[in-house]
């Protein structure tokens, strides 16, 4: 494993059309999503509206509907879709050999800001 990517575990730990969370000590929690087609995306787990936990939303196509007030957020860009405006940071993901990896500097972005 090289330093650029963080191994966060096997893909089968992530339910299709579902999400799980990855707390980052001293930084923002990350939500990892898997779509019906098996693609994996990661966002900071905070809705741009009022910080709702996106990991708890309903995943459909490549978006998630926030559980608090139904904003629809793109998993690809982190942008609010439709009428709403706002954006949440995305974290690059790669899947290799059945394991998921997150881009380390994106994971750490909020930690560095805080430090």
């Amino acid at each position: 494993m090289n330093g650029e990517w963080l191994d966060i575990g096997p893909l089968d730990q992530l339910p299709a059309m579902g999400a799980r969370t990855l707390p980052v000590r001293g930084g923002d929690e990350i939500a990892i999503f898997r779509t019906a087609n098996g693609q994996v995306y990661a966002l900071v787990n905070k809705c741009p509206h009022k910080q709702g936990p996106l990991s708890q939303g309903i995943v459909h196509d490549t978006s998630v509907t926030c559980p608090l007030h139904n904003w629809r957020i793109s998993l690809v860009s982190g942008k609010a879709l439709g009428e709403d405006e706002g954006c949440v940071p995305t974290i690059p993901v790669k899947v290799d050999g059945g394991r998921m990896f997150l881009k380390r500097d994106a994971v750490m972005a909020s930690v560095r800001e805080a430090a």
Binding site: L6, D7, I8, G9, D12, Q13, L14, P15, A16, M17, G18, R20, T21, L22, P23, V24, R25, G26, G27, I30, I32, T35, A36, N37, G38, Q39, K50, Q51, G52, P53, Q56, G57, I58, V59, H60, D61, T62, T65, P67, L68, N70, R72, S74, L75, V76, S77, K79, V107, M108, V111
Partner: protein, 823 residues
Amino acid sequence: MLSPTPRPHLIVIGNGMAGCRAVEEILERDASRFRITIFGAEPRVNYNRIMLSPLLAGEKSFEDIIINGQEWYDDHGINLVAGDPVVAIDRASKTVTSRSGRVESYDKLILATGSDPFIIPVPGNDLQGVISFRDMDDVGSMLRAASGGGDAVVIGGGLLGLEAAHGLSLRGMKVTVIHLMNTLMERQLDEAAGWLLKTELEKRGQQILTTADTAEIYGEGKVEGVRLKDGREIPASIVVMAVGIRPNVKLARDAGLAIGRGIHVDDHLVTSDADILSVGECVEHSGQVYGLVAPIWDMCRSLADGLVAEPSGYTGSVTSTKLKVSGIDVFSAGDFSGGDGCEDIVMRDASRGVYKRVIVKEDKVVGAVLYGDTADGNWYFDLLKKQEDVSEIRDALIFGQAFASGGGAGASPFDAVAAMADEAEICGCNGVSKGKVVACIKGGAHDLDAVRSGCKASASCGQCTGLVENLLALTLGDEFAGERQVKPMCKCTSFTHEDVRKAIVEKELKSIPAVMQAQHWTTPDGCASCRPALNYYLLCAWPGEAVDDQQSRFTNERMHANIQKDGTYSVVPRMWGGVTTPNELRAIADAADKYGARMVKVTGGQRLDLFGIKKEDLPAIWADLNAAGMVSGHAYGKALRTVKTCVGSEWCRFGTQDSTGLGIKTEQMTWGSWMPHKFKIAVSGCPRNCAEATIKDFGVICVDSGYELLVGGNGGIHLRGTDLLCKVATEEEALLYCAAFIQLYREEARYLDRTAPWIERVGMDYVKSRIVEDAEGRKALAERFAYSQSIYQIDPWAKRAAGEDAKLHQHLAEVRPFAGVAA
């Protein structure tokens, strides 16, 4: 043939698809440039690997699939060393050594070693009878095994696995496919198409297990079966491993060439050593590795151009896939993952079993998935490769090439419809021609519903709705309002809630993808509005048969607790009829302390709410509450919430009946049932109505002579007092009418309609006709409710506390920045 002057020696390692094609391309450009030697690990001439599938299925023989027979090698003076793989390359001395010890020196070397099948690392993967699907020898092993009949397991539901499964089942084996993901061919197909494929294969007798993870292959000395991680065992005499391939880079790595996932090559297929080229599945070009032949043909052209002619340069390939299973047409190309700026155009034709989805981004086709009718696959693929602007034909695109170009230059859907002959059929289900539809519209049918009832067009499957709407617009011009009177369920479909519920029952649809296909959903997997509705409709129509889809539930129902604005949850244990005991109160107090509840509140529903519980702590707090005899209060669900009671005749000087006791009995009968929306009940002991029964979905007011049953109250956003349903004499009758009323509401109301708006719509007369006037029907409704309750009246907390769906509550991992590890 051979020229006398010494020519440079070209050695090709790999006598497969890429190696031989590269040689063909070179010979075509300059037949006499090189003296050529080809080493092949397989003891045979060059054959078409992709035809191994029809070979296995018995549709072809080996002779049929040979690409270059021995005479081709002879005619071109090519020295074929078959059955003797190269084991080492010495770049310093520019020689290769074969397993038999043969050493040959080269001027130019081409590595075309293909891929190795990936073998999953589970116990038993080396047992006799575990076969991969890559070459002739593998097919031989499968055919030998199949000759005895018996059971086969194929691990992997991708292209290769499904072709293997098809072949083996045609050869008489009973085949089970084990696939890790939840849809087949998930890299080529979306959920909808994957589901159609699965259904079709099951119809053909294969058993398809999705989200199935292999734990081990068991057997004494040879394969006897496969055990899954969930404990299931599938007996098998052979196991075909078709989970993927890995570029074969061993020789290149040992020789010190630059490699990544594959052997690194530049645009001319040259590796990090200028005298060594590489082509085929073993290479990585611009970060891409390929597993199909089309890119290989492109690569071989560029390789030959660079080596013996004008360098052209390879710039990567866009690929498309077809499944070679007779009678099942599947096509996919490009990127179907969607995303920003992508627009899905979906068409489903349930009667023909067709699903088409074209993904358009910035006026260009970026992907296509076709099932059932793949005739236009190549057309979409062409539009995609050429990056053509499709804005002009956008509206007609999904109907295919013939239709899109049929309307002439403009090709708008109006033009296309206008150009249709009067006899042309619009509605296939009911055989309605364009002429008839137009006549119907001219006769006064000015909206879709009027056309549907007037001439039946688009009244069945609905697939021609778009055409009918275009005809309305065309015929009426400005008079056409465009809007339908009846609102569809959501933007994913043109059908109403009622249409969909009816179809679920009549067509016996038992899963979400089945409904989406049958009812022509225009999105690949629905939205946050229709998925929960469909999930409920299915559970209601097919109790015990439909599988509850957790991912189609709102978070509260998935987590069995109410999400709060800060992302924590509130926990409300059931308190039957609002009655509690010191023991329950003690357990609630202990739980509040132990899990740090930041507030304990008496709710408006007569019970206690613990606020601020962490997602991770939920199973533990539930276990503690369960231990004290409490179950989930469903304060989070579209379900029975509370039954409020007053003290009644037990204590109250005005009480006429045991309202507390009846409330508890009612709650015990109805708790746990899923509903279109939340459902609240109250039982008051006299008309003073201390339990506020007149604003509940179902209310009871006890009087001296019996029980007044009230329905359709709502204390929420729009205050609505109840209507009197009827008066009954006994508790038994009160319970029976309650069950029947709930079931009627469950079966007929739209998802997210409380009883109040539902009754406003259907009218009290209708409700009375079903519950009060029809004794048989009342009994039948109550029985259906009881049956549903026999399945769904379970405490979801107990299951979770016992470990079910533990993943939902746990973090995947935690990042501790300074230690720098993810655990």
